[in-house]
Protein backbone atom coordinates (compact mmCIF):
# COMPACT_ATOMS: atom_id res chain seq x y z
CA UNK A 1 0.00 0.00 0.00
CA UNK A 2 1.54 3.26 -1.15
CA UNK A 3 -0.87 5.51 0.71
CA UNK A 4 -0.01 3.99 4.07
CA UNK A 5 3.75 4.24 3.47
CA UNK A 6 3.95 7.70 4.99
CA UNK A 7 2.03 8.83 8.05
CA UNK A 8 -0.70 11.20 6.91
CA UNK A 9 -0.63 10.25 3.22
CA UNK A 10 -4.00 8.56 3.63
CA UNK A 11 -5.58 11.93 4.28
CA UNK A 12 -4.52 13.04 0.77
CA UNK A 13 -5.24 9.89 -1.25
CA UNK A 14 -8.68 8.34 -0.89
CA UNK A 15 -7.51 5.08 -2.46
CA UNK A 16 -4.17 3.56 -3.36
CA UNK A 17 -2.19 4.56 -6.46
CA UNK A 18 -3.16 1.99 -9.13
CA UNK A 19 -0.53 -0.63 -9.94
CA UNK A 20 1.48 0.18 -13.03
CA UNK A 21 1.07 3.95 -12.62
CA UNK A 22 3.88 6.30 -13.54
CA UNK A 23 4.20 9.09 -11.00
CA UNK A 24 6.50 12.08 -11.24
CA UNK A 25 7.94 13.43 -8.00
CA UNK A 26 8.88 17.01 -8.77
CA UNK A 27 10.45 19.88 -6.87
CA UNK A 28 13.51 22.03 -6.37
CA UNK A 29 16.69 20.81 -4.69
CA UNK A 30 16.40 19.96 -0.99
CA UNK A 31 12.66 19.30 -1.08
CA UNK A 32 13.07 15.59 -0.19
CA UNK A 33 12.24 14.14 -3.63
CA UNK A 34 14.71 11.26 -3.38
CA UNK A 35 13.70 10.57 0.20
CA UNK A 36 10.00 10.47 -0.67
CA UNK A 37 10.62 8.21 -3.68
CA UNK A 38 12.78 5.85 -1.61
CA UNK A 39 10.29 5.82 1.23
CA UNK A 40 7.36 5.00 -1.07
CA UNK A 41 9.25 2.24 -2.89
CA UNK A 42 10.76 0.74 0.25
CA UNK A 43 7.38 0.60 1.92
CA UNK A 44 5.81 -0.93 -1.20
CA UNK A 45 8.11 -3.96 -1.05
CA UNK A 46 8.32 -4.29 2.71
CA UNK A 47 5.91 -7.26 2.77
CA UNK A 48 8.92 -9.36 1.76
CA UNK A 49 7.45 -10.83 -1.41
CA UNK A 50 7.61 -8.08 -4.01
CA UNK A 51 10.85 -6.52 -5.17
CA UNK A 52 11.73 -2.99 -6.21
CA UNK A 53 14.51 -1.24 -8.08
CA UNK A 54 15.87 2.19 -7.18
CA UNK A 55 18.10 3.48 -9.98
CA UNK A 56 20.25 6.38 -8.89
CA UNK A 57 22.03 8.41 -11.53
CA UNK A 58 22.92 11.32 -9.29
CA UNK A 59 23.95 10.12 -5.85
CA UNK A 60 26.18 7.15 -5.05
CA UNK A 61 24.55 4.20 -3.26
CA UNK A 62 26.52 4.61 -0.01
CA UNK A 63 25.81 8.32 0.21
CA UNK A 64 22.13 7.80 -0.60
CA UNK A 65 21.71 5.05 1.99
CA UNK A 66 23.51 7.13 4.60
CA UNK A 67 21.10 9.95 3.92
CA UNK A 68 18.06 7.68 4.19
CA UNK A 69 19.33 6.31 7.48
CA UNK A 70 19.94 9.85 8.78
CA UNK A 71 16.36 10.79 7.90
CA UNK A 72 15.02 7.72 9.70
CA UNK A 73 13.68 6.16 6.50
CA UNK A 74 13.61 2.40 6.80
CA UNK A 75 15.18 0.39 4.02
CA UNK A 76 13.84 -2.90 2.75
CA UNK A 77 16.13 -5.71 1.65
CA UNK A 78 13.85 -6.18 -1.33
CA UNK A 79 14.49 -2.70 -2.67
CA UNK A 80 17.60 -3.07 -4.83
CA UNK A 81 19.67 0.02 -5.47
CA UNK A 82 21.37 0.32 -8.85
CA UNK A 83 24.14 2.90 -8.77
CA UNK A 84 25.41 4.08 -12.20
CA UNK A 85 28.69 5.35 -10.79
CA UNK A 86 30.77 2.36 -11.91
CA UNK A 87 29.47 2.76 -15.46
CA UNK A 88 30.26 6.50 -15.42
CA UNK A 89 33.80 5.90 -14.17
CA UNK A 90 34.67 2.94 -16.39
CA UNK A 91 32.92 4.11 -19.57
CA UNK A 92 33.59 7.83 -19.41
CA UNK A 93 35.10 7.86 -22.90
CA UNK A 94 32.37 5.78 -24.52
CA UNK A 95 29.35 7.78 -23.23
CA UNK A 96 26.77 4.96 -23.39
CA UNK A 97 23.13 5.86 -23.98
CA UNK A 98 21.75 5.79 -20.45
CA UNK A 99 18.13 5.47 -21.56
CA UNK A 100 18.98 2.21 -23.30
CA UNK A 101 21.15 1.12 -20.36
CA UNK A 102 18.30 1.88 -17.96
CA UNK A 103 15.85 -0.21 -19.97
CA UNK A 104 18.29 -3.11 -19.92
CA UNK A 105 18.91 -2.69 -16.21
CA UNK A 106 15.17 -2.90 -15.53
CA UNK A 107 14.89 -5.98 -17.79
CA UNK A 108 17.81 -7.64 -16.00
CA UNK A 109 16.31 -7.09 -12.56
CA UNK A 110 12.90 -8.23 -13.81
CA UNK A 111 14.57 -11.40 -15.08
CA UNK A 112 16.21 -12.03 -11.71
CA UNK A 113 13.28 -10.92 -9.54
CA UNK A 114 10.11 -12.05 -11.28
CA UNK A 115 8.00 -10.15 -8.77
CA UNK A 116 9.61 -6.77 -9.47
CA UNK A 117 6.76 -4.35 -8.92
CA UNK A 118 8.15 -0.91 -8.26
CA UNK A 119 10.76 1.19 -10.01
CA UNK A 120 12.32 4.52 -9.04
CA UNK A 121 14.43 6.63 -11.35
CA UNK A 122 16.48 9.33 -9.65
CA UNK A 123 16.47 11.46 -11.68
CA UNK A 124 14.77 11.95 -15.03
CA UNK A 125 16.82 15.13 -15.54
CA UNK A 126 20.06 13.17 -15.28
CA UNK A 127 18.72 10.56 -17.67
CA UNK A 128 17.88 13.28 -20.21
CA UNK A 129 21.35 14.72 -19.92
CA UNK A 130 23.02 11.34 -20.34
CA UNK A 131 20.82 9.98 -23.11
CA UNK A 132 22.16 9.92 -26.61
CA UNK A 133 21.14 12.87 -28.73
CA UNK A 134 20.16 10.54 -31.56
CA UNK A 135 16.53 10.84 -32.53
CA UNK A 136 13.67 12.52 -30.78
CA UNK A 137 14.03 12.40 -26.98
CA UNK A 138 10.29 13.06 -26.53
CA UNK A 139 9.51 10.01 -28.63
CA UNK A 140 12.09 7.97 -26.75
CA UNK A 141 10.48 8.99 -23.47
CA UNK A 142 7.06 8.03 -24.76
CA UNK A 143 8.35 4.54 -25.54
CA UNK A 144 10.20 4.41 -22.21
CA UNK A 145 6.96 5.21 -20.35
CA UNK A 146 5.12 2.61 -22.45
CA UNK A 147 7.68 -0.06 -21.57
CA UNK A 148 7.37 0.73 -17.86
CA UNK A 149 3.60 0.29 -18.18
CA UNK A 150 3.98 -2.93 -20.18
CA UNK A 151 6.15 -4.35 -17.40
CA UNK A 152 3.41 -3.49 -14.90
CA UNK A 153 5.81 -1.49 -12.77
CA UNK A 154 4.52 1.20 -10.47
CA UNK A 155 7.13 3.84 -11.22
CA UNK A 156 8.26 6.97 -9.44
CA UNK A 157 10.39 9.30 -11.55
CA UNK A 158 12.19 12.08 -9.74
CA UNK A 159 12.22 15.39 -11.62
CA UNK A 160 14.13 18.40 -10.38
CA UNK A 161 12.46 21.67 -11.27
CA UNK A 162 13.71 25.24 -10.86
CA UNK A 163 12.77 26.77 -7.47
CA UNK A 164 10.53 29.45 -8.94
CA UNK A 165 8.80 27.43 -11.60
CA UNK A 166 5.46 28.39 -13.02
CA UNK A 167 2.85 26.14 -14.51
CA UNK A 168 4.77 26.27 -17.81
CA UNK A 169 7.05 23.59 -16.41
CA UNK A 170 4.07 21.26 -16.47
CA UNK A 171 3.67 21.72 -20.22
CA UNK A 172 6.50 19.24 -20.72
CA UNK A 173 5.61 15.92 -22.34
CA UNK A 174 6.32 13.80 -19.28
CA UNK A 175 3.65 15.64 -17.30
CA UNK A 176 1.01 14.62 -19.83
CA UNK A 177 2.34 11.09 -20.11
CA UNK A 178 2.53 10.47 -16.37
CA UNK A 179 -0.43 9.15 -14.42
CA UNK A 180 0.44 11.21 -11.41
CA UNK A 181 2.43 14.25 -10.33
CA UNK A 182 3.46 14.80 -6.73
CA UNK A 183 5.03 18.19 -6.18
CA UNK A 184 7.33 18.95 -3.28
CA UNK A 185 8.40 22.45 -2.35
CA UNK A 186 8.91 25.03 0.33
CA UNK A 187 6.71 27.88 1.51
CA UNK A 188 7.88 30.86 3.50
CA UNK A 189 5.57 32.50 6.00
CA UNK A 190 6.48 34.97 8.73
CA UNK A 191 10.13 34.05 8.47
CA UNK A 192 9.47 30.32 8.75
CA UNK A 193 10.15 27.96 5.89
CA UNK A 194 8.06 24.80 5.68
CA UNK A 195 8.18 21.90 3.26
CA UNK A 196 5.00 20.87 1.51
CA UNK A 197 3.67 17.99 -0.55
CA UNK A 198 0.96 18.48 -3.16
CA UNK A 199 -0.64 15.79 -5.29
CA UNK A 200 -1.27 17.77 -8.46
CA UNK A 201 -2.48 14.83 -10.50
CA UNK A 202 -3.31 11.20 -9.79
CA UNK A 203 -5.32 9.30 -12.35
CA UNK A 204 -7.98 6.91 -11.08
CA UNK A 205 -7.47 8.01 -7.49
CA UNK A 206 -9.52 10.57 -5.60
CA UNK A 207 -7.10 12.99 -4.03
CA UNK A 208 -6.84 16.26 -2.21
CA UNK A 209 -4.97 18.74 -4.41
CA UNK A 210 -4.05 21.08 -1.56
CA UNK A 211 -0.60 21.66 -0.14
CA UNK A 212 0.14 19.69 2.99
CA UNK A 213 3.00 20.14 5.40
CA UNK A 214 5.78 17.56 5.01
CA UNK A 215 8.03 17.03 8.01
CA UNK A 216 10.94 14.81 8.98
CA UNK A 217 10.38 13.06 12.28
CA UNK A 218 12.23 10.36 14.16
CA UNK A 219 10.48 7.70 12.09
CA UNK A 220 11.08 9.29 8.71
CA UNK A 221 8.65 11.41 6.75
CA UNK A 222 5.19 12.46 7.92
CA UNK A 223 2.46 14.51 6.33
CA UNK A 224 0.57 16.95 8.50
CA UNK A 225 -2.55 18.91 7.71
CA UNK A 226 -3.34 21.32 4.91
CA UNK A 227 -1.21 24.46 4.83
CA UNK A 228 -4.15 26.79 4.25
Amino acid sequence: MIRSSIKGFESILASDIPKGSIVLITGAEGTLKSSLAFCLASSYVSDGEAHGLYATLEQGKESHMRNMSYLGIKESGNLHVFDYRDIFIEWQDAEPDMLKVTEEVIASYKEKYKDLRVFVLDSLNALYTLSSGDGDLRKSMYYFFSRLRDLGLTSFLVVETPPLQGDSEHDKAEYFLADGVIELGTLESAGNISRYIQVRKMRATKHDIGKHKLVIGQDGLSILGSMY
Partner: protein, 129 residues
Protein backbone atom coordinates in the same frame (compact mmCIF):
# COMPACT_ATOMS: atom_id res chain seq x y z
CA UNK B 1 38.32 -12.10 -31.13
CA UNK B 2 41.27 -14.45 -31.58
CA UNK B 3 39.83 -17.12 -29.32
CA UNK B 4 36.54 -17.14 -31.19
CA UNK B 5 38.37 -17.28 -34.51
CA UNK B 6 40.42 -20.20 -33.21
CA UNK B 7 37.20 -22.05 -32.36
CA UNK B 8 35.84 -21.38 -35.81
CA UNK B 9 39.01 -22.66 -37.49
CA UNK B 10 38.72 -25.99 -35.65
CA UNK B 11 35.49 -26.94 -37.36
CA UNK B 12 33.94 -25.90 -40.62
CA UNK B 13 31.04 -28.32 -40.62
CA UNK B 14 28.41 -25.68 -39.85
CA UNK B 15 27.02 -22.37 -40.93
CA UNK B 16 29.11 -19.66 -39.23
CA UNK B 17 26.30 -17.14 -39.05
CA UNK B 18 24.02 -19.68 -37.42
CA UNK B 19 26.80 -20.62 -34.99
CA UNK B 20 27.32 -17.00 -33.95
CA UNK B 21 23.58 -16.48 -33.48
CA UNK B 22 23.29 -19.57 -31.26
CA UNK B 23 26.36 -18.57 -29.25
CA UNK B 24 24.91 -15.09 -28.80
CA UNK B 25 21.64 -16.50 -27.43
CA UNK B 26 23.44 -18.89 -25.07
CA UNK B 27 25.74 -16.19 -23.68
CA UNK B 28 22.96 -13.63 -23.23
CA UNK B 29 20.57 -16.05 -21.54
CA UNK B 30 23.27 -17.47 -19.25
CA UNK B 31 25.34 -14.38 -18.64
CA UNK B 32 25.32 -14.95 -14.87
CA UNK B 33 27.15 -18.27 -15.33
CA UNK B 34 29.56 -16.70 -17.84
CA UNK B 35 30.27 -13.74 -15.55
CA UNK B 36 30.82 -15.95 -12.50
CA UNK B 37 33.08 -18.34 -14.42
CA UNK B 38 35.27 -15.53 -15.73
CA UNK B 39 35.47 -13.68 -12.42
CA UNK B 40 36.26 -16.94 -10.63
CA UNK B 41 39.25 -17.31 -12.94
CA UNK B 42 40.39 -13.67 -12.79
CA UNK B 43 38.84 -10.91 -10.67
CA UNK B 44 37.88 -7.98 -12.88
CA UNK B 45 35.76 -4.88 -13.25
CA UNK B 46 32.64 -4.47 -15.40
CA UNK B 47 34.32 -2.94 -18.44
CA UNK B 48 37.00 -5.65 -18.53
CA UNK B 49 34.33 -8.34 -18.20
CA UNK B 50 32.44 -6.97 -21.19
CA UNK B 51 35.69 -6.88 -23.20
CA UNK B 52 36.61 -10.40 -22.09
CA UNK B 53 33.22 -11.83 -23.12
CA UNK B 54 33.56 -10.14 -26.50
CA UNK B 55 37.09 -11.45 -26.87
CA UNK B 56 36.11 -15.02 -26.00
CA UNK B 57 32.77 -15.31 -27.79
CA UNK B 58 32.39 -12.31 -30.07
CA UNK B 59 29.25 -11.38 -28.13
CA UNK B 60 28.85 -7.79 -26.97
CA UNK B 61 26.91 -7.55 -23.74
CA UNK B 62 26.07 -3.96 -22.93
CA UNK B 63 26.47 -2.29 -19.55
CA UNK B 64 22.78 -2.73 -18.68
CA UNK B 65 23.13 -6.49 -18.99
CA UNK B 66 26.40 -6.98 -17.09
CA UNK B 67 26.43 -4.53 -14.15
CA UNK B 68 23.07 -5.74 -12.73
CA UNK B 69 24.54 -9.27 -12.66
CA UNK B 70 27.55 -8.03 -10.68
CA UNK B 71 25.42 -6.03 -8.24
CA UNK B 72 22.81 -8.72 -7.60
CA UNK B 73 25.50 -11.39 -7.13
CA UNK B 74 27.21 -9.00 -4.71
CA UNK B 75 23.91 -8.54 -2.85
CA UNK B 76 23.54 -12.31 -2.67
CA UNK B 77 27.05 -12.55 -1.21
CA UNK B 78 28.51 -14.55 -4.11
CA UNK B 79 30.75 -11.68 -5.25
CA UNK B 80 32.59 -8.94 -3.47
CA UNK B 81 34.08 -5.74 -4.83
CA UNK B 82 37.44 -4.20 -4.04
CA UNK B 83 39.34 -1.23 -5.43
CA UNK B 84 41.70 -2.12 -8.25
CA UNK B 85 45.41 -1.56 -7.76
CA UNK B 86 45.80 0.83 -10.65
CA UNK B 87 42.72 2.98 -10.06
CA UNK B 88 41.10 3.26 -6.64
CA UNK B 89 37.83 4.44 -8.19
CA UNK B 90 37.43 1.28 -10.27
CA UNK B 91 36.07 -1.80 -8.50
CA UNK B 92 37.00 -5.32 -9.45
CA UNK B 93 34.82 -8.23 -8.45
CA UNK B 94 35.95 -11.54 -7.05
CA UNK B 95 34.15 -14.70 -5.95
CA UNK B 96 33.74 -15.02 -2.19
CA UNK B 97 34.15 -18.26 -0.26
CA UNK B 98 30.35 -18.47 -0.07
CA UNK B 99 30.16 -17.68 -3.77
CA UNK B 100 32.35 -20.64 -4.75
CA UNK B 101 29.46 -22.96 -3.89
CA UNK B 102 27.09 -20.79 -5.95
CA UNK B 103 29.49 -20.90 -8.92
CA UNK B 104 29.87 -24.66 -8.60
CA UNK B 105 26.09 -25.23 -8.55
CA UNK B 106 25.34 -22.77 -11.36
CA UNK B 107 28.06 -24.22 -13.55
CA UNK B 108 26.89 -27.74 -12.77
CA UNK B 109 23.28 -26.94 -13.73
CA UNK B 110 24.42 -25.16 -16.89
CA UNK B 111 26.66 -28.00 -18.02
CA UNK B 112 23.99 -30.64 -17.22
CA UNK B 113 21.33 -28.73 -19.18
CA UNK B 114 23.60 -28.31 -22.21
CA UNK B 115 24.70 -31.93 -22.05
CA UNK B 116 21.08 -33.12 -21.95
CA UNK B 117 20.32 -31.07 -25.06
CA UNK B 118 23.51 -32.25 -26.77
CA UNK B 119 22.83 -35.91 -26.05
CA UNK B 120 19.47 -35.61 -27.78
CA UNK B 121 20.64 -33.38 -30.64
CA UNK B 122 23.73 -35.49 -31.36
CA UNK B 123 21.79 -38.74 -31.07
CA UNK B 124 19.11 -37.43 -33.37
CA UNK B 125 21.74 -36.38 -35.87
CA UNK B 126 23.35 -39.84 -35.76
CA UNK B 127 20.00 -41.56 -36.24
CA UNK B 128 19.43 -39.62 -39.42
CA UNK B 129 22.79 -40.76 -40.78
Amino acid sequence: MERLEENLECSTDFDEEEYRAILDRIIRANRDVVVLSIVEETPMCGIDLIKEIFFRYGVYLSQGLVYPILYTLEEDGALKARATKGNMRVKEYFVTQEGKEVVHKKKGAFIKALEDVLIFVKGDARDKE
